[in-house]
């Protein structure tokens, strides 16, 4: 049989049953489908953000703050106005950990156990790094500036909590906490899952199984977390 006929026979049978129409295992398909639904969860939070942000359009009493006046700190460079620099560093860390993750997957295809383990370890470190940065960012946000802002009832508000903040409308702080918090929670779960998988890799579980598909699956999750951050970064820090 020539190559071309095999290909047509192959094409004809894709949806014919007895095989996956996507040529992916059920586990990977499940992960994709789960990520799709998770994307909708994040979307609902971003929709809430868009709605509330737009409902402050043209509001002169409590205008929506500009991000470069809020997120302008950098560790060890106290008092300098460095807008967006720290969050760019966080983005860099997350993208880099995505790269090490995909390198681990690639090494898994070659069955190179040691490489997989090393790259997984780097990914975990990246994740922890990101979480630490987020902790620092939250601390800055909660502590606030030295001057603070006088609220209408005369109390001077420093930083932010869920009820009010010195930067602008209450919803600004609330949405910051819930959007980045929900993302951070995903990163945290991702780190936990990555650690489990890393231990399995080191123990040789996947070596025995004959493939590293599990690494691919957590890889998908990890890249998704990265993907969400791209949009959080865009919507919360840039726009």
């Amino acid at each position: 049989m020539s190559n071309a006929t095999t290909l047509t026979a192959e094409k004809k049978g894709i949806w014919g049953g007895g095989r996956s129409p996507f040529s992916v295992s059920y586990g990977k398909l499940m992960m994709w489908v789960f990520l799709l639904s998770d994307a909708f969860t994040f979307s609902s939070l971003l929709v809430a953000y868009g709605f509330i942000r737009y409902s402050f359009h043209g509001n002169t009493v409590t205008p929506w703050p500009s991000p470069d006046h809020v997120f302008n700190h950098f560790p060890f460079l106290h008092g300098m106005h460095l807008p967006l620099m720290f969050v760019s560093l966080m983005t860099f860390i997350l993208i880099f950990s995505s790269v090490t993750m995909v390198l681990a997957v690639e090494a898994g295809h070659r069955m190179a156990k040691k490489e997989v383990a090393n790259y997984m370890l780097l990914t975990i470190l990246g994740g922890i790094g990101f979480l630490s940065c987020q902790a620092w960012e939250w601390t800055q946000f909660i502590t606030g500036t030295h001057e603070g802002k006088e609220l209408f009832n005369g109390i001077i508000m420093h930083g932010a909590n869920l009820h009010s903040n010195e930067y602008g409308p209450t919803a600004f702080g609330d949405l910051f906490f819930i959007v980045t918090g929900f993302h951070g929670f995903h990163v945290f779960s991702g780190v936990m899952i990555n650690i489990t998988i890393y231990l399995n890799v080191v123990a040789g579980t996947y070596e025995k199984r004959g493939h590293y598909e599990m690494v691919e699956k957590v890889g998908l999750y990890w890249h998704f977390v990265d993907l969400v951050w791209v949009f959080v970064f865009t919507f919360y820090y840039l726009i």
Binding site: P21, G27, G58, S98, V99, D226, I239
Partner: protein, 105 residues
């Protein structure tokens, strides 16, 4: 659990490693461009749309290369990407609605 079915993986290109690093530099480049534009351009709707567009481009690279979508059979991307139209619809409507809320307030 993890026995794969006789799956003929659509093999990733041989120079996968090079592709990964290329994608990394592209993503980094776009992020730097983002920050550059943030300080250069005046704040207006056009700038916002540009940022969203850049975000979608970045998403394309992450999903396509990192998540391997470019190398999967074409039905998987259809399955996963098509429902995103609903999100765009929801977001568009809610932004209109948010604007209306500020109008009636």
């Amino acid at each position: 659990m993890e026995h794969t079915e006789h799956l003929e993986h659509t093999e990733p290109p041989k120079d996968m490693k090079a592709q990964i690093w290329k994608t990394f530099w592209i993503l980094l480049g776009f992020t730097i461009v983002d920050i550059g534009l943030y300080f250069i351009l005046p704040s207006n709707m056009g700038k916002n749309i540009l940022f969203i567009f850049l975000g979608v481009v970045k998403a394309y690279f992450i999903v396509g290369v990192f998540m391997h979508m470019k190398f999967e059979r074409k039905w998987l991307p259809y399955l996963i990407v098509t429902p995103m139209v609903l999100v765009i619809y929801l977001i568009t409507l809610m932004i209109i609605e948010g604007g209306y809320t500020s109008f009636v307030r």
